[in-house]
């Protein structure tokens, strides 16, 4: 009952307000010219756009006011405030997926222990990365690689030369590298990334887009050489889990926390966003709010409060990855077996995600 009443009341108020506003608008409209009466097209469009914009802002305000009123009323009546409505997004209306990993799945953990990354993730082996490029590489490619080298500890750049990738895999295996990163550039712009987990791990092929280098980021910082912390967000399904572990195996598993350097891989709608930050904890002195100050004015006038805040500074490249295929075994374009390939027939719904 109470709920219904509450709902109805603001609606009524809103309606009244609308009526008033409507009458006022009507008066205004009589005074001003209707946009449709303007003969000049450019002018008409401009006026129309203005009117439309005002209407939109009005509507937003009204909504916010109604919400605030409802909240206030609920507080006055001593009821619980109405629940904050959660906007419906594509992510939270995602198609149900049976492959999403569950925390109570025993098979998952045994599978994890047995997979190709486990010896790195258990710190039995220290990751050692070989970075190379496609055959022709210039301008943004080398710059990107330089930044990657600063992001990933224990990474070594090797010139591609004219070697085949299979030969490079063989070489890296002999030199006890744990993974290979190949940056593929097209028209002097990096556009694909190949991650190969070595000895016999999977090979992931990503599309790389929206690359912003360090010097193009405003107020960027310069990264330190500490081992970074790693944040992997939203890798939920089996495939996502596997890709997440593949990415995790590029970084050392013992971050130096006092270095305060974070590398983030954030998955959203199958796009993996890469960010690289430095952070700092600062104690910030803030003046106590005026209301409180009145209450405490007896004690002292210049009362300040210290608050710990974290500040972020972005450094290093910024890019977006999208998984194209995950291949079983090391790179083999001809005879490879795929664990997952993106096929056009999968794209029948916007709400289906694979990672």
């Amino acid at each position: 009952m109470a709920d219904r009443k509450r709902k109805r009341d603001p609606a009524g108020d809103g309606a009244k307000a609308e009526e008033e506003k409507g009458s006022r608008d009507g008066k205004e409209k009589k005074r001003t010219l209707l946009p449709s009466l303007i003969k000049n097209k450019v002018k008409r469009m401009a006026v129309h756009a203005k009117v439309k914009r005002e209407k939109r802002i009005d509507k937003k305000k009204k909504k916010a006011k109604a919400r605030a009123d409802a909240h206030k009323r609920a507080l006055e009546l001593g009821e619980e405030p109405p629940p904050v409505s959660i906007p419906r997004t594509i992510e939270n209306t995602r198609e149900p997926d049976e492959t999403v990993c569950k925390p109570d799945d025993e098979e998952l953990f045994v599978g994890n222990d047995a997979d190709e990354f486990s010896n790195i993730l258990k710190q039995e082996r220290i990751p050692k990365i070989l970075i190379t490029t496609c055959r022709f590489n210039s301008s943004r490619g080398p710059a990107f690689i330089q930044e990657l080298l600063s992001v990933i500890p224990n990474a070594h750049y090797f010139k591609r030369g004219t070697y085949e990738l299979k030969k490079i895999v063989e070489y890296a295996n002999n030199k006890e590298f744990t993974s290979i990163i190949v940056v593929h550039t097209n028209r002097r712009e990096p556009d694909a990334l190949l991650l190969i987990n070595l000895s016999d791990g999977p090979t992931a092929h990503f599309k790389l887009s929206k690359l912003v280098l360090r010097k193009d980021i405003k107020n960027h910082g310069n990264p330190t050489s500490h081992k970074p912390e790693l944040v992997l967000n939203n890798f939920t399904t089996r495939l996502g889990h596997r890709v997440g572990r593949l990415i995790q195996s590029l970084f050392p598993q013992d971050p130096y926390f006092r270095g305060r350097r974070v590398v983030t891989f954030h998955n959203q709608r199958d796009f993996i966003f890469f960010r690289h930050h430095r952070y700092v904890f600062e104690s910030k002195e803030t003046k106590v709010d005026s209301n409180d100050a009145k209450a405490k004015s007896a004690k002292g006038k210049n009362l300040t409060q210290t608050k710990m805040i974290a500040r972020l500074q972005e450094c290093g490249p910024r890019f977006t990855l999208k998984l194209i295929s995950l291949q079983h075994g090391t790179f083999d374009s001809k005879g490879g077996e795929f664990e997952w390939v993106h096929k056009p027939e999968m794209d029948t719904s916007r709400r289906r995600f694979f990672l």
């Binding site: 209306t93 098979e107 222990d113 077996e337 795929f338 997952w340 390939v341």
Partner: protein
């Protein structure tokens, strides 16, 4: 609400499939209803990566069925496919390798023989095994219920299939007289199993018009029909499907290119000319090997390499599984996805237990008359849809689906009836054998009188 398109899977007739995966688990998937969704019923074995299954074979008999799995750690294990009990274990090493080699050789192919045998002996089971290095071995194992320990009756017959290269695929023909092997650097060769002698070897096709010779690399091969050992369908790593005819020539009679990823599995149909092929990037297609024409692709959301395909001997159904860890059932005629079940691990092989039908379970639970009533209800429903359809257009699709489902049900029912008739005939023979109680089918618990009675009641209605 957001509009989401969900493709409704029509569902399968009663089925029982066993899958093996990289963690060494054997999972049993069953469909119990007349037309229903498959569910994982049982999981056998502890998950352990070293016990990863490399090859599996099922002796699909009415009585005393046997499942053999070759594991990564060099063991061949024999299981009872009804309850998962381990019956015997054999080491690959002491049967295949000669004295001095120490390391395990991975098994490339494993085939249980004695499917076709006139009288399936309960104790002795012959099997053919082949390692990747080309050592084939024919031996038998006694399967006892009491102890999992193995006792071998005869010394294994061992021979070398190839000198160099690695064997990747092998197959045994329907009469179990011949076996074929092929692999990387190994041309398809046929062996007589009785004499253990090579009877035929293929010859690689000539280099093409540009003078480019493609190296031999067979990834899958099978005999085209059960009766005839002379026709062989093979798939190569450079995405070709080939047909060899032993009686005609040594080079392939027919060679078809299919897309751009290696053929990983080739499975023959019952009709003797259709083959189903699965590729490394998840394409599943069927070919008519008489003409070399692509009959059609099985389109679904299949995204990982296909490792194994199994054809049901009576129902028009194939099961496929692979690295995307789904087991999928397809209709062979319409090439429609009937249902898919997620099994969590990379699957290595699937076998179908064909002597399973849902009625076995139902008949054990409830009297057969009740079931007959059910059937009549279904028939009544069949007449209903047109009326509703005229009323509401929105429900049309749904009803159509239902009607479709019902017709499908009826179709499968007919088939399973046929199936029953044949199986009933065979039970009389089987009862003479002395069997260990545990290996008896569940059906025998229900009694032998029931199924015929049930059938009669159905007839009286129809």
């Amino acid at each position: 609400m957001p509009r989401t398109t969900t493709v409704e899977c029509p569902g399968c007739p009663p089925l029982r499939a066993l899958t093996t995966d990289v963690l060494g688990l054997v999972k049993v998937v069953e469909v119990r209803e007349k037309v229903g969704m498959p569910k994982v019923v049982e999981t056998w074995g502890p998950p352990d990566a070293s016990r990863s299954v490399v090859a599996a074979s099922l002796a699909d008999r009415k009585t005393n069925p046997l499942l053999a799995v070759a594991r990564k750690n060099g063991l061949v294990e024999f299981l009872n496919p009804l309850n998962g009990n381990s019956l015997a274990t054999v080491k690959v090493k002491d049967s295949v390798s000669s004295s001095n080699s120490t390391e395990d050789e991975p098994v490339a192919g494993l085939h249980l023989l004695g499917m076709k045998g006139t009288k399936p002996s309960s104790k002795l089971n012959k099997f053919l095994m082949c390692t990747t290095k080309g050592k084939a071995c024919l031996r038998s194992v006694t399967v006892g219920d009491a102890s999992p320990g193995s006792s071998l009756v005869d010394s294994p017959i061992t021979w070398n299939v190839c000198g160099a290269g690695s064997v990747l695929c092998s197959s045994v023909d329907g009469n179990e007289n011949f076996a074929l092997f092929g692999g990387k650097g190994v041309e398809v060769n046929v062996w007589d199993l009785e004499k253990c002698s090579k009877t035929w070897t293929a010859k690689s096709p000539p280099s093409n018009s540009l003078g480019i010779f493609s190296p031999t690399w067979f990834t899958a091969a099978t005999f085209l029909s059960k009766e005839d050992h002379r026709k062989i369908a093979a798939g190569t790593n450079n995405h070709q499907v080939r047909l060899y005819d032993i009686s005609a020539q040594r080079r392939p009679v027919l060679s078809i290119n299919f897309r751009e990823s290696p053929v990983k599995v080739v499975t023959e149909d019952l009709d003797g000319y259709t083959v189903y092929i699965g590729t490394g990037c998840g394409d599943l297609a069927s070919f008519d090997m008489r003409t070399g024409k692509l009959l059609g692709c099985f389109v679904g959301k299949c995204s990982g390499s296909i490792r194994s395909i199994a054809r049901h001997p009576r129902l028009p159904i194939i099961a496929s599984c692979g690295l995307d860890s789904y087991l999928r059932f397809w209709d062979t005629k319409t090439r429609q996805l009937l249902s898919a079940v997620f099994l969590k691990q990379h699957l290595t092989s699937v076998v179908l237990d064909t002597h399973f039908s849902a009625e076995e379970i139902e008949s054990a639970d409830q009297p057969s008359d009740l079931q007959a009533n059910d059937h009549s209800e279904v028939e009544n429903e069949e007449e209903l849809p047109p009326k509703i359809r005229s009323k509401i257009s929105r429900k049309k699709a749904h009803n159509k689906n239902k009607a479709d489902k019902i017709s499908r049900e009826a179709q499968y029912d007919e088939m399973s009836n046929d199936n029953e008739r044949t199986t009933i005939d065979s039970t009389d023979d089987d009862d003479d054998d002395v069997l260990p109680a545990t290996t008896k089918r569940r059906k025998s618990l229900g009694g032998n009188e029931k199924p015929p009675k049930h059938k009669k009641s159905k007839k009286s209605i129809g």
